[in-house]
């Protein structure tokens, strides 16, 4: 064995990895070759030196540094979809945009399918023409669509009183009318009007003729009801209509009584008023007072306390007139008061058949000497 051959086997010899035969040959060579022995020793020494070296330690957070780069490396490999939706800077705007689009679509679809809401107007009652020839007074307008026909007058009541005082019938208490209705004997037109009576009006008879009774309608006249429903805010006119209707009814009653009694209702001293069939009754009384002015004042005060309404007051030469609306039962009380002032001239028969309110005209004359004979 030569030295050159030893070189390859010396590391194995050191590790005792040679076969026994090769090992024997190597040891035999070493015994005679100092050079190889030196090289074997050097090799062994070097090995020991190297093995004696201490291992260096990894720096702090070395693993974390490596894994951070590894994760970064892994993040770059995400799919397109993952890149699209993972980053917040992309995901949030996309989600916000999607939400807005969905909201817009929902509103659009709702508006397309939203049912048309129309105002549920109350259909006007069917218009019905009033019966022909029925109308002494046409409180309802001519056959026209249900619209307001009455003129918009601020105080029609007063105007009526002034212009047609004898024709004006103030609104009686409902009870009176109903009472009058109940007391009324059956006649053709009145009977027809009974079911509709509470505030009767002109067209009542006509409407009743047609038998157009709606369960919704009250006992008010059809015409007045129609106007009531159709007139928004014109309650004054409606109430005046009602009073007109009441007056008409009262006049009809008066006419019926006259027909029955066969007499006129005009008082002795009637000036022609109240003779009309459609007007309330009128009564006159004459008072011969010593002091006319004083008597007028006292009569006014008395009428006010009694709740009577002074309609008109006139002063002429030597005379004074007071027109009042008073209930029939109160006339007796008033006459007693008047008798305390002076001489009272009154025809009791003028009260017969009178009911409810009447127009009482009080004529006050000056009678200086109560001993003078009564004027005729």
């Amino acid at each position: 064995m030569i030295c050159r051959e030893i070189e390859d086997q010396l590391p194995l010899y050191l590790e005792d990895l040679l076969a026994p035969k090769e090992k024997g040959l190597l040891e035999e060579h070493l015994s005679v070759c100092p050079f190889c022995r030196q090289r074997l020793a050097d090799s062994k020494k070097t090995e020991e030196i190297l093995k004696d070296l201490e291992e260096v330690e990894a720096p702090p957070f070395f693993e974390e540094r490596i894994m951070a780069r590894v994760r970064e490396e892994a993040g770059e490999k995400k799919s397109f979809l993952q890149k699209l939706f993972f980053p917040i800077r992309i995901k949030v705007p996309i989600q916000a945009l999607t939400t807005v689009l969905i909201a817009v679509l929902a509103v659009y679809l709702y508006q397309q399918n939203e049912p048309e809401i129309k105002p549920n107007l109350i259909p006007p009652p069917p218009y019905q023409e009033p019966a022909k020839g029925s109308g002494p007074t046409d409180f309802s307008p001519a056959p026209q669509p249900p619209k307001v026909v009455l003129p918009a007058r601020p105080a029609p009541e007063k105007d009526l009183i002034k212009k047609e005082p004898e024709a004006f019938a103030p609104a009686p208490p409902a009870a009176d009318i109903r009472e009058g209705t109940r007391k009324e004997k059956a006649t053709g037109p009145l009977e027809e009007e009974k079911p509709a009576i509470e505030k009767p009006g002109g067209p009542i008879r006509a409407m009743k003729d047609k038998e157009d009774v709606s369960p919704r309608l009250s006992a008010f006249t059809r015409g007045s009801e129609r106007v009531e429903k159709q007139e928004a805010g014109s309650g004054f006119e409606t109430s005046s209509l009602e009073r007109k209707g009441e007056r008409v009814l009262a006049q009809k009653k008066a006419l019926a009584r006259e027909e029955k009694a066969g007499r006129s209702s005009s008082p002795v001293l009637s000036k022609g008023e109240g003779t009309r069939n459609d007007r309330p009754g009128t009564v006159e009384v004459i008072v011969l007072a010593r002091q006319m002015e004083q008597a007028v004042r006292e009569i006014e005060e008395r009428l006010i306390r009694m709740g009577a309404r002074v309609i008109e007051q006139k002063h002429l030469a030597g005379k004074a007139f007071l027109k009042t609306e008073i209930a029939v039962p109160q006339i007796g009380v008033l006459l007693d008061t008047l008798e305390g002032m002076g001489k009272v001239i009154f025809n009791q028969k003028t009260l017969e058949g009178q009911e409810g309110q009447v127009i009482l005209t009080i004529q006050i004359l000056t009678y200086p000497n109560p001993d003078q004979p009564e004027p005729k």
Binding site: T46, E54, E57, F62, I66, V70
Partner: protein, 199 residues
């Protein structure tokens, strides 16, 4: 003898999970082999900071190519090969700028050497009389003076404890070559040590 941290079976489990896309399964592999790889890179490069960088790159390279790793081999062997490659690349980039902290023999710190009588000398050698830190620095310096092939076998065998077969696989050379390189490498290192400090 092969000094391996962790069992092969454990490495295979984490490697499998990494191959399936589980990134965090790579962390245990890093934890187990980071020190050994760092020492391998440090002994090859000779600079601690540069060795840290090289090892990071080596682990990244291993992660990138984890799916190409054949699971019948050892992960540590495969990873060591990557570290050696990264180290070679690094040294090439440095283009022969090895930092040798050689000290002249006239350096006052140079310790007079006794005659080297091999391992049988009863008296401690000059190297042995050095402080440990100085000794290690001297050895490392001597390693850097060796050519790359000798350095690799020395580091893999005497420092890393790999078997001749493993070294052959890592360096892709036959076993005979590994042995002859190792013998020559040790003698060369010895001569360098004598030249630097005296052994």
């Amino acid at each position: 003898m092969d000094a391996q941290n962790g069992s092969i079976e454990d490495d295979s489990c984490f490697v499998t999970r990494c191959r399936q896309g589980e990134v965090e399964a790579f962390a245990p592999l890093v934890r187990r082999h980071q020190k050994k790889m760092l020492n391998l890179a440090y002994r090859m490069i000779g600079d601690y900071e540069e060795a840290c960088d090289v090892v990071q790159e080596a682990f990244l390279a291993a992660f990138r190519s984890i799916k190409t790793f054949r699971e019948e081999a050892r992960f540590s062997t495969w990873l060591g090969s990557i570290v050696l490659n990264e180290s070679r690349n690094h040294l090439k980039k440095k283009a022969g700028r090895l930092r040798l902290e050689e000290k002249s023999l006239d350096d006052p710190e140079t310790i007079k050497m006794n005659d080297l009588n091999g391992f049988s000398s009863p008296e401690p050698s000059a190297l042995e009389r050095l402080e440990k830190s100085d000794r290690e620095r001297l050895v490392q310096t001597a390693l850097q003076t060796l050519d790359q092939e000798q350095r690799e076998v020395l580091v893999l065998r005497d420092l890393q404890g790999h078997s001749y077969e493993t070294i052959g696989l890592m360096l892709k050379v036959p076993l005979g070559t590994v042995r002859s390189r190792l013998f020559r490498a040790r003698n060369s290192l010895k001569d360098k040590l004598v030249t630097l400090r005296g052994v």
